[in-house]
Amino acid sequence: MTEQKVAPPPRVRPSRRPAIVRAVTVAPHGLWCLLFILAPLVFVVYYTFTDPSGAFTMANIKEVFSSAYLTVLKRSVLLALESTAICLLLAYPLALSIARMKPRNQSLVILLLMLPMWINLLIRTYSLKLLLETNGPLNGFLSRLGIGPIGFLNSEFAIVLGMVYNYLPYMILPIYSVIAKIDPRLKEAAADLGCNGFQTVFRVVLPLSVSGIVSGITMVFVPSISTFFISKSLSDGRIRLIGDVIEQRISLHNVAAYEIGSALSFILMILIIVSMLITNRFGDNDGGVVV
């Protein structure tokens, strides 16, 4: 821009009737949020802390922390942590490998990784179940090698496998997108200063990709801990997670069941808020990548 200096731009003139503009644009959305996002959450809290007559009670919360539900709660947290850890261990080297490819191949692999995400979770999980069944194709293949039949299904292993299978791309993509953006000169500098390949990864790339790891962990942990179809399908309903219990309670459609369902949802929400607070402490929180 080598134009002559022009007069300073005129003062921004506010819209003639800002109140009306606001009323027409923001108000409907604000009202919608109030009615259908905030009010429903209030009702979860309401049903959690009241009995059928509407009086305040802590009974629902106490019941959730009684033996049967507590086992389910602990199992949900444990399996979600396991699947998140496995996803991270699988995804990180993968993201590194992809970032080293030629740009053209990179975008092809990323496209392939995103493809399963477009298939409904139910279909993906069901196809995994089909593959793993005792009389399924995998066992058919193994029996030809003289191995088998292995009962993959109906175990906590199967559920974790299902979570990893479904949510692995959610871990790979944010990590990859952060690694791909790292200035290659930093890696060269590390090599010049005497780092070998592993040292470069651990001392340069890893610290710079924390934000990707954090958003990957959130994107795998949240759906893992709240799933119910994966556990229900891969264990034939025998191993239940918190999501299964919520679904089962809620589908009874009576007030007492709604109360337990609400209490469990309330606990789940608290668990997730806490886990997000923990992960956010580690990330610089600009990793709001790929949604």
Binding site: S97, V109, P116, V222
Partner: protein, 282 residues
């Protein structure tokens, strides 16, 4: 090292695609077996096309996706336009944080909260607490944050002086919106619409909790099928859905590539050079 990482990538892709490919293969099986492939047949596809409930579920899914994505896009775009003009930052931040709640919360919590709300309102007003309307409301609600997230950046990129210029040239605020602002943010609006549409088609949990009895969308219909003894016509249905998605993805990628090519500065320069040459020749 290079071969090792390549093998690793292939193994992971195999892990992700093997189940889907096996399922597609067995949708063409001539028997009910899922262990042995005994011959190619279109039997299960014929069975599927005879299934009236599946057709109805497909229709419901599309109806819901179109309605919810269009309404969410209108509401969300208006909100984004209005929010960008708000002077008070805390109001803007609060509204945006609240909008994002369904995106951050697990689907099952959103689903339960919606249901609790509908049950309460339904019993208070004496109307059905679960119906097509409740599913539609739920879908619009979880679509809204995605629309706003894709429109907001386009508004921020837009040159604000264009709005002043339009006003100075005598546009009313409504004319300014339709003739200046909307064309500028249209790519964001369209990608928000597309995102909302696919999210609505894909949703299972929230639909399952807020729908009335006997109403099915494709995902909830598949769920009801997996509860009973499964027949391979479900594989056929899943295969068809997969192929439709694949076609749409390839098409949208081609379209995007073509649009990017048109915007490629080198090509534009080449085209301009050609035009100049022609002018000179004349």
């Amino acid at each position: 090292m290079k071969t090792l990482s390549r093998i690793y990538i292939i193994l992971i892709l195999l892990f992700l695609f093997a189940p889907i490919i096996v399922m597609m293969l067995f949708s063409f099986n001539s028997t009910r077996s899922t262990a042995v492939f005994s011959g190619f047949s279109l039997k299960w596809y014929r069975e599927l096309f005879r299934d009236e409930k599946a057709a109805e579920a497909l229709l419901n899914t599309l109806k819901l996706a179109v309605l919810s994505s269009v309404i969410a896009t209108v509401l969300g775009t208006l909100a984004a336009v209005g929010l960008s003009r708000l002077k008070r930052r805390w109001v803007r931040n609060t509204v945006q944080s609240v909008t994002n709640i369904p995106m951050m919360n697990p689907d099952i919590v959103t689903a339960v909260s919606m249901l609790m709300f509908f049950v309460f309102v339904g019993s208070a007003l004496g109307i059905a607490s679960r119906s097509f309307a409740t599913v539609l409301i739920a879908h619009i609600t979880f679509n809204l944050p995605y629309v706003i997230l894709s429109v907001m950046p386009k508004i921020r990129q837009m040159d604000k002086h264009l709005l002043e210029a339009a006003a100075d040239l005598g546009c009313t605020p409504i004319e300014t919106f339709f003739r200046v602002e909307l064309p500028a943010i249209l790519p964001g609006v369209l990608s928000g619409l597309l995102m909302a549409f696919t999210l609505s088609i894909d949703d299972f949990i929230i639909t399952q909790f807020t729908k009335g009895e006997g109403f099915y969308t494709l995902p909830t219909y598949i769920y009801s099928m997996t509860k009973k003894k499964v027949t391979p016509d479900m594989y056929a249905l899943s295969t068809l859905i997969f192929l439709v998605i694949l076609t749409l993805l390839i098409l949208s990628n081609l379209l995007q590539a073509r649009m990017e090519a048109r915007r490629d500065p080198r090509k534009i320069a080449a085209r301009n050079a050609k035009k100049k040459k022609k002018l000179k020749e004349n």
